[in-house]
């Protein structure tokens, strides 16, 4: 076998094993995305109950809560960036980071400094590589978040927010995450989490007007207990949505990698066949040439 032919066969084999890996990753992502979506749905009752309760308290008491009050002289804004721990998910982490950069510019234009809080190794790596500072990073759970991590993140953010910028905390908290719309569409979202706007309040239609609740022990204390939970539930939801999006993005990326590998294998097989054919042709012409040279010599 000629050297060229051997080279093509070798490449084709290497692409074949790559294809096996990408195919396996595609299948794993496909099966896990189903589970991840289920988890998003399972948390919906909790999120709904808590949103309803917060809206009820917020609409029936005009208690000025520190978590809902805008600070006029905001100078530092915390941004939670939710990315993946691992790559091989297409543009998933890159688009979140790009959006975070845009947000930083917007905040800068408003005279606020961005304080990054990172979730996922990709975000941590991005900031570390560029030698930028970040306040805190959480890693190791991006494709399978657990409630404890969500709680820890939410509590850290809350504590920073309550400190305020004078004491090294922040005045605002934004969150950049990827919302899972469908298997083919995932949207990067930027939400301002604190000071709080109970966004879902608009969804409450006329058919369920809130009854006049009695509060135990008091509206202010009820709000005190509810708002931190509401934040946790928002963070938790963002993490779960991001996880589902990550897996969907990975599945898509691996699918196209597998397709590309197939294409490459086809190309290399053709090239190898061509090389073989050329070799045969050459051998024949050498034999014919040799034979006729012998005949001429007689």
């Amino acid at each position: 076998m000629g050297a060229q032919q051997r080279e093509y066969r070798k490449r084709s084999r290497s692409v074949q094993s790559t294809k096996k890996i990408t195919r396996a990753m595609e299948l794993i992502a496909a099966s896990r995305v189903v589970k991840a979506r289920q988890r998003v749905e399972e948390t919906t009752p909790y999120a709904r109950a808590i949103t309803r309760a917060v809206s009820a308290v917020a609409s029936y008491s005009d208690a000025d809560h520190p978590l809902t009050t805008e600070r006029p002289d905001a100078t530092r804004a915390g941004v939670l960036v939710v990315t993946s721990d691992r790559g091989l998910a297409g543009a998933y982490s890159a688009s979140v980071l790009k959006r975070a950069e845009q947000l930083r510019e917007t905040l800068q234009a408003e005279g606020k400094e961005m304080v990054p809080f990172l979730a996922g190794r990709k975000a941590e790596g991005y900031f570390r590589f560029r030698g930028r500072e970040y306040a805190k990073a959480w890693t190791g759970f991006s494709d399978r978040p657990d409630f404890e991590s969500a709680k820890e993140i939410a509590e850290t953010l809350l504590a920073e927010f309550l400190k305020g910028s004078q004491e090294g905390g922040v005045d605002e908290i934004h969150i950049v995450y990827t919302r899972f719309v469908s298997m083919v569409t995932q949207e990067v979202q930027v939400v301002r989490m604190l000071p709080l706007e109970v966004v879902e309040a608009a969804e409450v239609t006329t058919e369920d007007i809130f009854p006049l609740y009695e509060f135990e022990p008091s509206p202010a204390e009820a709000l005190d207990a509810l708002l931190p939970r509401y934040i946790v539930s928002r963070v938790w939801n963002a993490l779960l949505q991001s996880a589902a999006s990550e897996l969907a993005a990975r599945q898509r990326a691996m699918k196209s990698a597998t397709d590309n590998a197939e294409e490459l294998i086809k190309t290399y097989t053709r090239l190898a066949n061509q090389a073989r054919q050329a070799e045969i042709t050459q051998e024949i012409s050498e034999i014919v040439g040799g034979a006729s040279a012998l005949a001429d010599a007689k």
Binding site: Y46, P211, E216, P217
Partner: protein, 94 residues
Amino acid sequence: MSALQVELVAADRKVWQGEASSVSARSIDGDLGILPGHTPLLGVLVTGDVRIVTASGTQTVTIDGGFLSVDHDRVVIVADNVDAAGLTTPAETH
């Protein structure tokens, strides 16, 4: 007398749902009992047991803080973590 529609929700799942004749839970101010026809209420719960009395027996679960809302005989108990070991009937999730 109509029954209460009870939903017990943890952060990551719906733990239990069904009809009950009374619910009691521990709030900041002390034990809180809910019977059908209770006025709309939103209470903050602390760590403790929640007892749901149903036709088939009493369900007891331990929660680690949360809140409870009552309106029109619909009771929603929301907790961060629920220890469902005391549930005698499996959750009927719809």
